[in-house]
Symmetry: C2
Subunit: 492 residues, 2 copies
Amino acid sequence: MTKADAGDSIRPLRATDVHTWDLQADVVIAGFGVAGATASIEAARAGADVLVLERAGGWGGAAALAGGFIYLGGGTALQKACGFDDTAENMRAFLVAALGPGADEEKIADYCDGSVDHYNWLVEAGVPFKPTFWGEPGYEPPFDDGLMYSGGENAAPFNEIATPAPRGHVPQMSNKRSGEQGGGYMLMKPLAETAAALGVRSEYDIRAQRLVIDDDGRVVGLVATRYGTQVAVRAHRGVVLATGSFAYNDDMMARFAPRLLGRPAASVEEHDGRAIRMAQALGADLAHMDATEVAFFCDPHLFYRGILVNERGQRFVPEDTYSGRVGQLGLLHNDGQVLLIIDEQAYEEGMAGTTATPDLKHQPTWVCETVAELEAEIGLPEGALTTTVDLYNRHAAEGKDPLLHKKSEWVRPIGSPVAGIDLRGLMGGFTLGGLRTDLQSRVLHVDGSAIDGLFAAGRCTSGLSAWGYASGISLGDGSFYGRRAGASAARS
Amino acid sequence: MTKADAGDSIRPLRATDVHTWDLQADVVIAGFGVAGATASIEAARAGADVLVLERAGGWGGAAALAGGFIYLGGGTALQKACGFDDTAENMRAFLVAALGPGADEEKIADYCDGSVDHYNWLVEAGVPFKPTFWGEPGYEPPFDDGLMYSGGENAAPFNEIATPAPRGHVPQMSNKRSGEQGGGYMLMKPLAETAAALGVRSEYDIRAQRLVIDDDGRVVGLVATRYGTQVAVRAHRGVVLATGSFAYNDDMMARFAPRLLGRPAASVEEHDGRAIRMAQALGADLAHMDATEVAFFCDPHLFYRGILVNERGQRFVPEDTYSGRVGQLGLLHNDGQVLLIIDEQAYEEGMAGTTATPDLKHQPTWVCETVAELEAEIGLPEGALTTTVDLYNRHAAEGKDPLLHKKSEWVRPIGSPVAGIDLRGLMGGFTLGGLRTDLQSRVLHVDGSAIDGLFAAGRCTSGLSAWGYASGISLGDGSFYGRRAGASAARS
């Protein structure tokens, strides 16, 4: 097609205005990340002819660059092999508490009920998981272990709400330290190969621009651009949107998630929110547009061993929890003002024990003999840090932390010399809000009905999370509801 | 009209499907609160035949029930009469800091530049302001004074960012203590009378249900319901949406502002978000859907004189700031866990000096001889409150508060006996996010263009605020952009 007015608009185009369909398939999927890949597999297995359009030069999306956590539980074979008991109900209790307030409880229950099956599905699709557990503090397993805590399940307050179980399932990496094959790549590679083996077709360097609707408002295709040329793509059964977050759309960030504006991380530049806006132009509804993951870029081996304080010298999080929770509380509730206070011995132990990458091994910003000197050096209000450390030390002498309930194994009085590490600015992330979808991954209109012919999954949708997060939720709900989207579109 | 499929849908109806127009006007306004009233006046003055539809039994909306603050500045006649200097630039600097992060700086600059003119316009429309200043702590002037601080302008950190000036302009109340005529009523009454004198027509007990568009997508009217009957209303020039917030729509609250779910306040049950959804169905864009005002229902005379602490016994806000800021930080960043710690002498002084209504004069929940006893009584972690009070008292002895910079006039060591007042749950409010509009109050499509024939103002739109708030912002931007909406619609 070359119709002039197709232009750059994101408004839906009428099918009657399309003169030629350049590409056709039963199911057309925009985006070849984890949601698009899983959607393509299920659509193909349901008998559909499937075409995936990807604006980058190859499959992968943000997923292929990710550490690779997939949040799964309820008693997966991997959990059992590592000696952990879990149930769907226990997993549900944790997620409702950790991903809220406001988390989609219906979606969480659905996800937990299907989690064991989803794990098996991934294994059958060729995703490798080594049945070993990594129990040290860190962001992800440094070697090829398959299971790790990834959401603060074993830290306060969640360890009192549900029985702790690790649920971060990581695809086995053959050569992690080379940096070439992270867990996300080892997830995406077998999925892309599975899709190809099923006859899924793919086109690259092509980006979805607007949806095409028939006279009844049903989505029957989309218009994409490739090298400046408009390409009309007919979808005989359905369109699946799977193009990722809006972390790189500064205008949307300013309007919906301003605290993360200018701090995109764990996302790719293609995450411009266009799919969200294309669907909004059809009346699609949204959810949790302010919700963001916030990564905290400091080695857990260090911050578990010290105390994290805000600009008033106050502790605000149990330091032995999920680093993303530190990031969220630090950036969203404490204006990004986060300092680590740690004594020399703890720092040395942390550095000795760490398996973190060098960029996370922060050097002390300030070092002093006493906390009072450190407080003055940092420029904190007089007495603010000393009272915090005094209180912490008083209880730490008994191995306790009644203020925030850090586990006793990480509680030890802070001695001398003592350092402050400036962690301001070391927070960034991606967006969790987006299109409102139902359990069948149908995109919902603001009137509550499903928009005919339109499906979505991954971070262009609002998934399990509202305010909170756990590592692996995005690859988790992206792949879970990606499958649903593909299956729904194929039978649409 | 009685076409069956008009039903309860919020999807736009095609004009060709309307058989009979039951009502007609040049400009049709949905909602007769402050935004609708001001829109009606400007539309009528621009020569349009104007019809206002209100679902309640009379004009007023949430505005008529409000305290009546209108946030104005930049050197209004009222500010000058009370001896305060202010400039548009100074006002702008405060608002950008106080209403963010993420506040709409373009809208704020526009609002500040037009603020003096807007004050004069209100006076000319008959809104009375008594040129006296009320300088005591409180929510609103207890008598008929016209000016008061309403956003923490004279408290940290804003008193270092801009020169403090009070900007809460309150219409003079003839009989405030009767409870029948609050400032909001004294704002709405002259506006409604002005509108009536201009020939503005109004219909009550009728609620807007969906928009009507022509073949080009232009909004040419709306469908309303009255006593179960569909009413088709033709707008020859434009439709103005002015139906208020979504604080009473639990589904939207759960998806966008879950921390305020179940806590609506300073809003009316009619605030169901329907206008937002009607416009979304046309592809209208949104902004700051998570933003909420949060009122804090405790007498400032009490909390200025004590310290406010969270569940960890930590202070988090200068107690002498705007109570709404205490509410936002308390509910949104501290999970609503707010306690007031105040000694007997300060409590008695506060009670003696207060002009607050009885419902705000909270009795002590716990009373003890020492802070340590109080801490144990409340159940706070051992040492948490005592260290906070020790630190506060140490500096207070010198009249200082280096931690949060409460002004020295309110800083005094906390003595014995000492009380704790449980303020958990005493926070509630309304939503600040909504339709994205431009400076002419045109509703913007997600493609950035204006939707032909559709205008909006008030709390169904995103106005000046993102995260922060000041009392008077809603009546302020609602009336300011209400006027713009009316003028724009009349010339559309």
